[in-house]
Amino acid sequence: MDKNMKILIVDDFATMRGIIKNLLRDLGYNNVVEADDGNTALPILRGGGIQFLVTDWNMPRMTGLELLRAIRTDEKLAKLPVLMVTAEAKREQIVEAAQAGVNGYIVKPFTANTLREKIDKVFERIAASA
């Protein structure tokens, strides 16, 4: 896995972006950019260069699920790996996210270890299917 890959973290809470950013740095990923909701994330994604997206679900203006759907219908972004880190814990929502094409799903509160495991798993699966 490329530790220099560019990762976009999308969450409306700056504290949570800070936590994820620091955990990623601890795992060796230092190339991180941030956005506070889907609306601000999408132009960054369309600008190119983002190789992995970590997004919250419940955000103002454009939610994480809407962002995911926009990504999957965008020719250039359709294959971008997306990890959802959210407090939404209803089974039907997890199924909805899976159907929309999410690559991993973490419920808050989570541990540093869970984040590492899920990132590894997302990229293992991508490598296996490539």
Partner: protein, 244 residues
């Protein structure tokens, strides 16, 4: 023709009215009733009419606005529970942060003291003031110090991660508090609505607005809800059942 009547005059006129009705003298009975009506204070009649209408509207609005009942029966107790959860989450985060800080403070103190003592010996060494025996002692101390640094740095690092993760409460409690603020806003709107209907009826839609329920945010008691996952393991098994 507004005129004030004495009690006796009132009784006399009432008796005349009863007599006219008994005699089936409709014309005169109606005329007498009209006179009574005009004799009452028109403003008082008007005022009573208005109050009756307002009372009717207010009661109707209470029945129509089921949202007010739902707020009182469900949302307020739910908000109370959510706020209690916020208290327990913030308390837990504070405790995690404090205990991680308490753990690493002596470690950092110890490192500082060891470095200070090594520094004074090191200064003596650079001034060539050490005997060969003292130099061997210093070399041993430096070696031990380097080993201690390696293990203490890893200890400090894991405590810092613990402090970092403890800040997660801000996101979760923030979401909960946002929901409670929305509820307070709704209660305020409903109360303003009720005050307004004492003057005039308002559209039920204005106060009967539903809060968006599609996204529920943090779960306070996931174990009580079969439709909600209780932890990451349940997320993983659900996703694996979907072929993930």
């Amino acid at each position: 023709m507004n005129r004030k009547l004495t009690k006796q005059q009132c009784l006399d006129e009432m008796r005349t009215l009863v007599r006219r009705i008994e005699e089936s003298d409709d014309n005169n009975a109606c005329r007498l009733l009209d006179e009574f009506h005009h004799n009452w204070d028109a403003d008082l009649f008007h005022e009573i009419g208005r109050l009756t209408r307002d009372l009717h509207d207010t009661l109707n609005n209470f029945h129509l606005d089921s949202r007010v009942a739902a707020i009182a029966e469900k949302d307020i107790p739910d908000a109370r529970e959510r706020l209690n959860y916020v208290i327990s989450m913030t308390e837990q985060a504070a405790r995690r942060t404090l205990s991680a800080t308490e753990e690493i403070m002596p470690v950092s103190n110890r490192l500082g003291q060891s470095a200070a003592s090594l520094k004074s010996e090191w200064v003596r060494f650079t001034r060539r003031e050490l005997t060969p025996e003292e130099f061997r002692g210093l070399a041993r101390c430096i070696e031990e110090f380097l080993m201690v640094i390696t293990s203490d740095a890893s200890h400090i690092h894991s405590s810092l991660i613990e402090i970092l993760m403890a800040q997660e409460y801000q996101d979760i409690t923030g979401q909960i508090i946002h929901r409670v603020i929305r509820l307070v806003q709704e209660v305020e709107d409903s109360l303003v609505g009720l005050i307004r209907v004492s003057r005039q009826r308002i559209l039920p839609a204005e106060s009967g607005k539903e809060v968006e329920t599609a996204l529920e945010g943090p779960q306070i008691r996931p174990v009580d809800r079969p439709d909600v996952v209780a932890n990451q393991d349940e997320v993983d098994s659900l996703l694996s059942s979907l072929g993930f």
